[in-house]
């Protein structure tokens, strides 16, 4: 009964979060502050935001239409650059590859920069289980790691934490003096991390883009931690989804500002690194070896379904989460999956199984705010509708499918509709007497339908 349990746990968590006023107000406030800069940046940085989206969508569609060829081109060029390109079909595959790297290079300590694919692989738990000390270096990721939590958001993993809470976490785990000053808190993390970069054997990162023509990976960040993570340790392992490709390095002129604007309302992220491989013979710094795991993990399934294939355009900017009234009500943890919000609800059922995760498709009012803001024009809320069709076909909810069958039968006959409503009205009167609180949740049918009013007054 796994399906009932993910679904019912989702409902339980969502009820708690939705009723938590403090949580809702904080999330709304944090996101509103992003919204205003994002809106501003769209106007100032782009002559025409809509045509920028259109172009980006076209480029990503070109990638998807030519995915096998572009992946091969990327692999050839990356290999020529000195990268060791590895392929992982699923989580188990990726774990085996990581294990081999750990053993081959005698890895004892790992430092990580932000990577959502590593969340798919639950890499922190995997490494911990092998007795390997692992520390996140992105400030937000570090905070949630120290708090033994999962990231709250694709882009801003600790958006749900206040300065006071962060201070308490640092005091408890790093043994520092409490402070509610954001700069001091950042300083504490920085001091702590500097030591880690120097002593770690392996740096693990994600990748924001893979450039097919250049054979390089892109990492966008604001703290410089990814540069240190990928440059200091003697081995660098990057993990990226196979959909992260861009055809050419020239596409960055659009995609760098596009991602920064949509994600955080910046012109550009502060550090944009193009990494072509390990240290070259004449270079003093950098890792001796660089691996790149290209992760499928369900992406081929999405690729094979025409109705949802365009979801692979996603550049993980998080804009749809910020726009989503459901996300803003329940927050990231409620989803219990690395990718939350609208994009999570679209792709998770295909990555992890419709049976267990189909409820995410229904947990939406289909308002379409996500589709409005998506920089690569993924029709997210329409994909939720097609997910619902698939979920219904695979594992129909007995209650709702029977209810709607009855409803559809009734709706084809005016006589049944009006008499059904009359019966419902009676039922409601009873309910009001027996359970007034429940009755408040259901609207009471009118004494007379419009149809019967018309019959009496107009015919």
């Amino acid at each position: 009964m796994a399906s009932a349990s993910e679904h019912s746990q989702f409902i339980d968590r969502s009820e708690v979060k939705a009723a938590d006023q403090t949580h809702r107000k904080r999330l709304l406030k944090v996101i509103a502050s992003y919204d205003s800069v994002v809106t501003n940046q769209k106007q100032h940085q782009f002559h025409d935001w809509q045509s920028a989206r259109e172009t980006a969508a076209t480029i990503k569609d070109y990638v998807l239409d030519n995915l096998p060829e572009l992946l091969e081109q990327f692999e050839r060029n990356a290999t020529a650059n000195g990268m060791q390109v590895l392929w992982a079909k699923d989580v188990a595959d990726a774990h085996t590859l990581v294990d081999e790297i750990l053993a081959r290079h005698n890895i004892k300590k790992v430092v990580k920069s932000k990577s959502m694919t590593s969340e798919e692989l639950e890499l922190n738990e995997f490494l911990e289980h092998r007795g390997i000390e692992t520390l996140e270096s992105d400030l937000g990721e570090l905070i949630v790691q120290l708090a033994h939590e999962k990231p709250y958001h694709i882009v801003t993993p600790a958006m749900h934490k206040s300065k006071e809470e962060i201070s308490e976490i640092f005091e408890r785990t790093l043994g520092c003096a409490p402070t509610h000053d954001a700069e001091e808190l950042t300083g504490i993390a920085r001091d702590h991390l500097r030591q880690v970069y120097i002593t770690a054997d392996l740096g693990i990162s994600g990748a924001n883009f893979l450039l097919a023509d250049d054979g390089s990976i892109l990492i966008l960040e604001n703290e410089g931690n990814a540069r240190l993570t990928t440059a200091c340790p003697r081995v660098h392992l990057a993990i990226a989804g196979i959909e992260k490709l861009l055809p050419s390095i020239t596409d960055l002129e659009l995609f760098l500002p596009l991602l920064a604007t949509s994600g955080t309302g910046q012109q550009m992220t502060a550090y944009n690194s193009i990494i072509r491989g390990p240290k070259r013979p004449h270079e003093g710094d950098g890792p001796e070896v660089m691996y790149l795991i290209l992760l499928d993990n369900g992406r081929s399934t999405i690729y094979s379904k025409p109705e949802v294939r365009a979801s692979l355009r996603c550049i993980r900017c998080g804009a749809c989460l910020n726009a989503c009234p459901v996300y803003k009500t329940v927050g990231g943890h409620t989803y219990n999956t690395p990718y939350s919000g609208p994009i999570g609800a679209v792709i998770t059922p295909h990555l992890k199984g419709m049976k267990e995760w189909g409820h995410l498709a229904y947990a939406s009012s289909l308002c379409g705010a996500c589709t409005d803001v998506c920089p690569v024009k993924i029709p997210l809320h329409h994909m939720l509708l097609t997910n619902r069709q698939e979920a219904h076909a695979e594992t129909p909810s007995l209650f709702w499918s029977s209810a709607l069958k009855l409803w559809a039968g009734a709706m084809q006959h005016r006589f049944i509709v009006d008499n059904g409503a009359r019966a419902a009205r009676l039922g409601m009167s009873l309910l009001q007497l027996c359970a007034p609180r429940l009755a408040k949740k259901i609207p009471k049918p009118a004494a007379r339908s419009f149809s019967s009013w018309w019959r009496n007054n107009e015919e």
Binding site: K328, Y362, S365, C367, H392, A408, W453
Partner: protein, 247 residues
Amino acid sequence: MHKVLLFVPCLIDQLYPEMGVALLKLLRHFEFDVQYRSDLTCCGQPAFNAGQLTEARAVARGVVSTLCSDSLADTPVVCPSGSCTAMMRKFYPELFHGQPEEKASCAVGSRILELSEFLTRYDLLGKLRGSYQKRVAFHNSCHSARELELRTEFRALFEGIEGLELIDPSPEPVCCGFGGLFCQKFQGISEGMAITRLEMCRDTQVEEIVSNDPGCIMHMRLIADQQGFKLPIRHSIELLVDAMKIT
């Protein structure tokens, strides 16, 4: 006299017939020959949104066949709900894709006009004159804003109403949390969303909320009642009929 057919959404039919009556009054005020067919019970959206295409088709097929019947084939249809209009215009072609009704369903969609589209098409916006001394928030439904692309058209409905101060509580449309069966399946989330929306409206110090969708109105009324928001929530037609003193 122009003929026009009313499409009365199921929620108006069963819960708020007074909204349908108000629309009738408004149309008659402009001397339309108003037609109504009681077999138009619902557009079928609840089943469509649940992913149950068979049931959605069963209901929608009736709508398509009634609207295409000989006596009504040339009659424009007016619908006081952005959501039902979106269903019939945008989603019927998808619902009937590859079905015998495909062509007919596409034709139906282009004939159905949401209230503000209808009033614009028949050049009536300038004739909506009246007075209403209140500060009012307009809640645009997500379907009319995002599926029908009616983002600011509603403003024109109220421009001739003297004394009415129309407030748009947010730069982008914000969902009230209704979402059809969503509000039953995920009650907590839906309630939280409604509270956010109602607070947003209340914070603009309005005396009333109007909307173009009975679904939003129903949901916001329920939650406003549960949570003690003292804000009347009505359909734009009801406000117009009041302001224009149509009896």
